[in-house]
Amino acid sequence: MKLMDQSAILARLTEIVRTLFDEYDGPVDASLNAKAVKQWDSLANVQFMVLVEQAFKVRFTVSEITGLKNVGELMQVIQKKLGH
């Protein structure tokens, strides 16, 4: 995966959020978390994180999959795994 800036990462994450959580039409930014999205339960979170893995060609640990607090933290982890 080539270097990606934060806005590019957020754009990809936004696409995944819109695909998976089709009832959510609010903003997707660094502060977004599962509590704000009705469809984002623990199983949907796994589906979301694996779609993110596939999109960025990265692999998360189980604790990263279950423990990340919001999209901002996720972006930081993605950037770190991409070598930024």
Partner: protein
């Protein structure tokens, strides 16, 4: 979260959240838009689960929490690899069925999932409200793999049935079903036995329940043919299979409800009715689009 008119459901939700507070958002969504009829059924189910668990309710709730965490691990594997982790009965037997402490927690967790997972509750409600009333008076009923025993208990309470039996190949599973009937105070006689369906004489039943069994066996088509053989001419089967549903002992992956129904037809059944119940919080359309769990149920008649 739960209206006061459903006290058993409300108290069971509270007991679960005391053990698993992170589940509040999920359970809130699970019951948010439930119709009064569905809440009434859930309340009835909650009362039975509380009675079965008795003074060990907090342990059952802890076992459900453990199960939910196990399912997350299986879901991660499934989403990454596109298949279930195990593929043979021997693997499932070694990791789950022969592991007594693991199995006990698993069965307790599955009992609570009958209420907390919308697809499980929906299928059970369909069984009680649609399948059982459609059986002819005097029908001889069998359940293969009755497990927690709630389906068999509902059949046993149906006065028009002539007899009710439950078969399993696991003594531990038979013990669980026996304990359910004892806890619920069932006064009648239930024929619970260690029987392999492939070895039993044919034509002895008018109705057979096969709920969440086919995904556990290596040759589901052969199991279905055995079910057809056990049925008398014109006999009916209630067959429930979850698709895209990773679990520690699921070895056969059905990817669509249609794959389930085709397998049933090919084994010698005509399908009279179907019921599709998507995972909590998902519409059927969304569940199909994203390959989420759907409980695919057929009422099938022996051809």
């Amino acid at each position: 979260m739960i209206p006061a008119a459903y006290p058993d459901l409300a108290s069971l939700v509270q007991a679960q959240l005391a053990i698993f507070p992170e589940h509040e958002s999920y359970l809130s969504t699970r019951f948010r838009n439930a119709a009064p009829r569905d809440l009434a059924f859930a309340n009835e189910l909650a009362a039975m689960i509380k009675t079965i668990a008795g003074q060990h309710l907090s342990h059952f709730c802890a076992d459900y929490r453990w199960l939910a965490e196990v399912i997350i691990e299986e879901e991660i594997f499934f989403r990454r690899e596109g298949r279930y982790r195990l593929s043979t009965f021997a693997e499932a037997d070694a990791q789950v069925y022969s592991n007594e402490p693991y199995m006990r927690r698993y069965v307790n967790g599955i009992l609570l999932s009958q209420l907390w997972w919308a697809n499980h509750t929906s299928v059970m409600q369909y069984f009680r409200d649609t399948y059982l009333p459609g059986l002819p008076a005097g029908a001889r009923h069998l359940e293969i793999g009755p497990g927690h025993g709630l389906y068999l208990y509902m059949a046993a309470r149906e006065p028009r049935l002539a007899s009710v039996a439950g078969w399993d190949v696991s003594p531990a599973s038979i013990a669980v079903t026996t304990a359910t009937f004892k806890a619920l105070g069932y006064p009648g006689r239930i024929d619970l036995a260690l029987v392999n369906l492939f070895d039993a004489p044919g034509g002895q039943f008018d109705s057979i329940t096969l709920s969440e069994v086919l995904e556990h066996v290596e040759e589901p088509d052969q199991a279905l043919r055995a079910i057809a053989r056990l049925l008398a001419p014109g006999g009916r089967a209630f067959i429930n299979v979850p698709v895209n549903s990773p679990a520690p002992d699921h070895i056969i992956l059905f990817r669509t409800p249609e794959a389930v129904f085709d397998t049933i037809r090919e084994a010698g059944f005509d399908i009279e009715a179907t019921h599709l119940a998507p995972i909590s919080g998902a519409t059927l359309e969304r569940a199909r689009k994203l390959a989420l769990t759907i409980s695919a149920t057929a009422i099938a008649r022996k051809r």
